[in-house]
């Protein structure tokens, strides 16, 4: 599919708005830092804008952007030096399972995630969100809620098992797994 390059500001803005959040989410998946994720996506769009007369995207924009942002994110991690080289390879493999598409896709995922969260017992949801949204350590969650670290872990394990069962976005096939596992890094 040939996608015409958006030359005018209005359609470029539309493209930007449609994909911005999903691309930030992909970058976040890799770098686990919200500000860094935003910067990476801004860099991508600035580059894309400046080359808009030269680039011809033969595939659709979505997969082009996803690939580029993933590459930039891995590159950022590499340059930051806070991740071991062999871990980079694993993160790259993991991130290939997370292909945020665009706004609609992300909304569907998000709705599915919250639907599943709503079905959990209140305490489990609270523990899960404290750990995964507020990034509070297990030890501190246990202290705040007056429960044992082990209970915190059990809650999170059960929450994750439930989410994997309930949410469609976790569907990954072993074939894809093998392919990306063996795939060398692109740089």
């Amino acid at each position: 599919m040939h996608q015409p390059m958006p030359d005018d500001n209005a359609s470029f803005e539309e493209l930007f708005r449609k994909h911005f959040v999903a691309l930030c989410t992909i970058a976040y998946y890799v770098v686990e830092d919200k500000d860094a994720a935003r910067d990476i996506v801004q860099d991508f769009f600035l580059d894309y804008w400046s080359k808009r007369h030269k680039i011809r995207i033969t595939n659709d924009f979505k997969s082009y952007a996803t690939g580029a942002v993933r590459y930039l994110s891995i590159d950022y991690l590499k340059r930051s030096g806070r991740v071991k080289l062999e871990d980079l390879e694993v993160i790259d493999g993991l991130s290939r399972h997370f292909t945020a598409e665009d706004r609609e896709w992300k909304e569907a995922c998000y709705t599915a995630l919250w639907k599943a969260l709503e079905q959990m017992p209140e305490q489990r949801r609270k523990v899960f969100l404290m750990s995964n949204q507020d990034k509070i350590k297990y030890k501190d969650i246990a202290e705040q809620l007056g429960i044992s670290v082990n209970t915190v872990k059990t809650h999170i394990r059960l929450a994750l098992q439930f989410l994997r069962m309930e949410c469609k976005w976790v569907m990954t096939t072993p074939v894809v797994f093998l392919l990306c596992w063996k795939m060398p890094l692109l740089f």
Partner: protein
């Protein structure tokens, strides 16, 4: 102490610890790799609500401006000239169309609006975001729903009430802090506390709402609709209060409907009708799908008049209907379909049962006639 392994044989302990430390576990098995991938996906999706496309676009235009200043001054004139040229060419190739046949494809433009007790007024976009996180409650919005989670430290705040307004368009879902689930239909309003306290749980409804009340016998749930009160101990029911009557339909459990001094109890599939003008209270048994189809996203009319059908359609699609002849409004139709996104598809369905119906669309007004 270690967690027991589950049936996939994976070591959850390894995964949980690496998540807490933000590290990559060593030597993952295939199962562990997938579990890790899913855990990170959940985290990334939760982080998504902190990314805002409007803020992003603003930053982008600023950054782009910074760059452009450096080396694009000269090009500007050339660009301006080519734009003028392109505009001229466009007019020549695509002359403005004059009158043509319109179809009813416009989507309703109204936004769901939340007014929080601290005085903020927030238009809810489709995108997910966190709206509030204080010592009263956590509020998360996403898609067509809003989720309250009590943080449980609100004792000294007194009763704080939030107001949720649903415009014409899509119904909306709300999970209240006590676990009660509310579906609000188009053109409806609910006023409720961010976190419940005191002896009763009380909310105020205008329009139509379906309530699946979290059981809590020591804190009865009260829905006020004008001066009519529906009292619940843990049950599912629908209240329709669009026009001159308040219709309460019970799906399961037991409710008590009070209008002034009169009061009656409902069994499942029974319905209480209160005429708001004289406060007259009646009871009857009904086909409850008529009242519950909407929460499943369906349009359901069982031998309903076109007049009442178009009234419902105008709430979902924000179109106005005009009848060429009053007799047309009395025609009856039966329809049971998933509610289409566009009104045009509903009109096409109606046309299937009466081919001589004509729908003439003029902006947001539809004139119905018979040929």
């Amino acid at each position: 102490m270690q967690l027991p392994a589950d049936d996939t044989g994976m070591d959850w302990n390894k995964i949980l610890e690496s998540l807490d430390e933000a590290k990559i576990p060593e030597d993952m098995t295939k199962e562990e790799f997938f579990a890790m991938s899913d855990a990170r996906a959940a985290q990334a999706l939760l982080a998504a609500q902190d990314f805002d496309e409007s803020a992003g676009w603003q930053e982008f235009t600023y950054l782009r401006g910074q760059r452009r200043l450096r080396h694009q001054r000269i090009i500007r004139l050339a660009v301006a000239a080519s734009v003028v040229l392109a505009l001229g060419a466009g007019l020549w190739i695509f002359p403005p169309r004059n009158h043509s046949i319109q179809t009813a494809d416009a989507l309703p433009a109204g936004k769901v609006r939340l007014r929080t007790s601290d005085g903020r007024s927030i238009e809810l976009e489709k995108q997910a975001r966190s709206i509030q996180d204080n010592d009263i409650a956590k509020i998360n919005a996403g898609g067509d729903s809003l989720v309250y989670t009590a943080t449980g430290k609100a004792k000294q705040h007194g009763i704080q009430r939030d107001t949720l307004d649903i415009p014409r368009g899509t119904p909306f879902q709300l999970l209240l802090a006590d676990g009660t689930r509310v579906w609000l239909n188009a053109e409806s309003r609910l006023i409720y506390p961010a976190a419940f306290q005191g002896l009763t749980r009380e909310v105020f409804l205008e329009g139509e709402g379906y309530f699946d009340v979290a059981p809590d016998p020591s804190h009865p749930f009260l829905v006020h609709t004008g001066n009519i009160t529906t009292k619940v101990l843990g049950t599912a029911f629908n209240i329709r209060a669009y026009d001159a009557s308040v219709v309460t339909t019970l799906r399961s459990g037991k409710v008590q409907v009070t209008a002034g001094s009169a009061s009656l109890q409902l069994q499942p599939d029974e319905q209480a009708i209160v005429h708001t003008r004289n406060g007259d209270l009646q009871k009857r048994t009904v086909d409850s799908r008529d009242y519950f189809a909407w929460i499943q996203g369906d349009l359901y009319f069982d031998g309903a008049t076109l007049g009442s059908i178009t009234e419902t359609l105008s709430r979902y699609y924000d179109y106005r209907f005009v009848f060429d002849d009053a007799a047309i409004a009395a025609l009856r139709f039966t329809l049971d379909i998933p509610r289409p996104e566009r009104l045009q598809d509903v009109l096409a369905q109606l046309n299937k049962s009466r081919e001589d119906l004509r729908f003439q669309v003029d902006n947001k007004t539809i004139t119905i006639s018979i040929h």
